[in-house]
């Protein structure tokens, strides 16, 4: 977006004033681009911010006929609030399990040369796409039933984690691949164990990768309807992704007032979790690797 392409070098050294003009135009182009992108991402969300406060919301993102009554009506559903707690439990539980399992595995797979390693990982990814689809519903349900985990959150966490770990390993391995092995070699010379190396050297460097995985897992779990729906039966143990369907009528019709309000409530925790992870662990390391 900066610069204007190869033509400038063909013409030889640009003059000082040309540079100034070009930099100015580049800056303008940059801001125009940013404004367009920002609008593209922001506009569809306006409805979510306005409709919950509107006594008579339509699909129009209009200034609301202001009310807080919709929140009261949503909270009349005895499961509305608890479902958010369940969602947090499932999201954080699955996230921890995936991170704890995927990080060491990604490290090991990065450092040990195995024939067909990439293909194996990719096959696992493919399998995960089957299991997260609808066709595997019956096997998953029966598996959890046989393990005695029906109607437990553990069962949901295990199934979700099983589907997410391969991609977690896949993403993390790339981050680990880009960490030079020289630190580990010198640590080993000083007698560090493999676990110490993983904990004290690899993981700190892979922290942005871990943060990406953590948020990615939570986002996936947060929105997952199918797995908790088929594995859980007690209404009070259902997460928000399932409970949101309480706000449809017997005819399957959405109550816009309640749906938009619950949609906002449903979106806030995952946004807060993202902000927390982002602030605490950061999505990237600024300045890059030294050396």
């Amino acid at each position: 977006m900066r610069g204007t392409g190869p033509a400038s070098t063909v013409r030889g050294e640009p003059s000082e004033s040309e540079l100034v003009v070009r930099r100015f135009l580049g800056r303008v182009a940059f801001y125009v681009f940013i404004v367009i992108v920002g609008a593209f991402f922001a506009l569809p969300m306006v409805w979510l911010v306005l409709a919950p406060f509107d006594a008579h919301p339509t699909l129009n993102a209009a200034l609301p006929d202001f009310t807080l009554g919709n929140f009261g009506d949503v909270l009349k559903d005895p499961y509305a609030l608890s479902s958010l707690g369940v969602s947090i439990l499932l999201a954080v539980g699955t996230m921890l399990l995936v991170v704890v399992l995927a990080a060491p595995a990604a490290y090991a797979l990065s450092r040990v040369r195995l024939p067909g390693r990439d293909l194996l990982l990719y096959l696992l990814l493919l399998f995960s796409s089957i299991v997260t689809g609808t066709a595997a519903m019956v096997p998953l349900f029966l598996l959890i039933f046989d393990l005695g985990l029906t109607d437990t959150h553990l069962g949901v966490v295990l199934v979700l984690a099983g589907g997410l770990v391969p991609a977690g390993i896949f993403i993390l391995k790339d981050f680990v691949d880009s960490i030079p092995t020289s630190y580990e070699e010198s640590a080993r010379l000083f007698g560090a164990s493999s676990f110490q190396i993983l904990r004290d050297i690899v993981l700190p460097y892979a922290r942005p990768g871990l943060a990406v995985i953590a948020v990615w897992v939570m986002v996936n779990v947060w929105g997952n309807f199918l797995i908790p729906f088929i594995l859980l039966r007690t209404p009070s143990s259902q997460p928000a992704a399932v409970v949101i369907y309480n706000f449809y009528t017997e005819g399957g019709q959405a109550d816009l007032r309640l749906i938009s309000t619950f949609g906002l409530l449903y979106s806030i925790p995952v946004v807060v979790m993202y902000l927390f992870v982002n602030r605490r662990y950061g999505f990237r390391f600024y300045g890059g690797l030294k050396g």
Binding site: P78, V138, R233, A254
Partner: protein
Amino acid sequence: MMRRFAPMEDLDRTGRRTTSGLKPRSHGRLGVLFAAVVLIAAACSTSSTSPSSSGAVGASATTTSSAAPSGSSAVGGAPIALKISANAVVGGKNDLAAEWITTYVIPTFQQMMAAQGKNVTVTFAGSGAADEDYKTQLGLDFTTGGGADVIVGLDDIWVGEFAEAGYIKPLNQVGGAAVDSWDGWSQISQAAQDDMSYNGQRFGIASGLDGRVLYFNKDVMAAAGLPADWQPKSWADIITAAQAIKAKEPGVTPLQINAGTAMGEATTAQGFLPLLVGTGVNIYDATTKKWQGNTPQIQNVLKFYQQIYGGSGLGDPQIQLAAKGRDQSFLEFSQKKIGILLEGDYLWRSVINPKGGIDPEADRDTNIGYSLIPAMTPGSGIKGQDFVSISGGGGSVLNPNTKAPAEAWALLAFMSSKDAVTASVSKQVRITMRTDVNAATLAQDPLLTFVSTKVFPITAVRPGLAVYDQVSQALQLASQEVVAGKSPADAATDYQNALTKLVGADHIASGG
């Protein structure tokens, strides 16, 4: 790990799996594969998965089915735990049904049982899902021999599928002789009893029936010069009225009749079938055991759809093809942007109801008119009728795996008793299955009275066969193809091809 496909015979009377569960009888090949997969999994995982023994797993089926959240404790006598499941949830979907079960049915029934010296604890597992999703949940529960003891809200068209899968059994096989001698049957019309029957046997008790009519906005009709008591005598009358609206009210979509796959069963039950019975046939003929294929009747229905959506501007094809088109049709009708709409009594009770409807219409009682759906031409309907309709409903069934069949039946019978049903309509009137309750409650509501007195005598029901659901989808697709521009003849041919795959050429009536 591989008892999954064990058929119901592998369950003993109490729903506990018998020890033969490890060798599924009729599914040896499946079993072999699962065994192989288990070995692979076990080899990979060694320690983590070893469900102790098949007996223990079987037992877990029964415990999860009944004891989950109750917290009941034995207070003398053998405690009996029962569970009711319904696609209803307090504070959400079908709120009133959930409230009725939790605040009326359960406490009253528990007291009743206590008076008989029985220690019965009833719990409620609600759900707020789409009906199709609820069906899947039920199916999954049944495959493991689990699920609630009394299942409320089983759609009538699922009865055949569930029965053929062995998931549900005739009521008198589960609940015993008390079922046939129940005094409530005399209050339930034959149509409502048939609604929850399969192969001539009663599998459940209906909870109510509905009916379809043509709704219209009187304001719109008046502007187009049509009477407030409009009653078309033929499809041509409907088209004429729609043309009049189109001419006088350019901002209004004159006529909307459900079509397309996005609306699902609403297309079949509130669109295609009410039209089809107006041509003289129902989709399935029980005496010849034949389905309507590419017949003149099917083609006439498709031609009528073409008249509405094929460029005439009488109907809005976008509504029929959009994902949430039915919501849109409700909203636009309540805003007087649709003139005439074919729908069930659900529209009146729950959508445009000024009190608590989704799209409340303040002047519903004065502005919304309704009329009978005419046959294609006078006298061309089934049984030579001038007017026709389609009814449907749902009901409650007993889980054949219940540990306490006698008490489960007692609970179902109580839920279908006059007192209980009267309590269920105390907050919102609907047409129940009981004639005594209807007689006492419906008078307050003109539309429901209209449906129960004028529509029910001429109505027809959908066939309760396992394959119906798929035939229904083929019909939805045929109507969609016409809305999207295909010729009725081609759409009918496509439909016949799909139908042949489903039921075989021997079971298709394609005469003409």
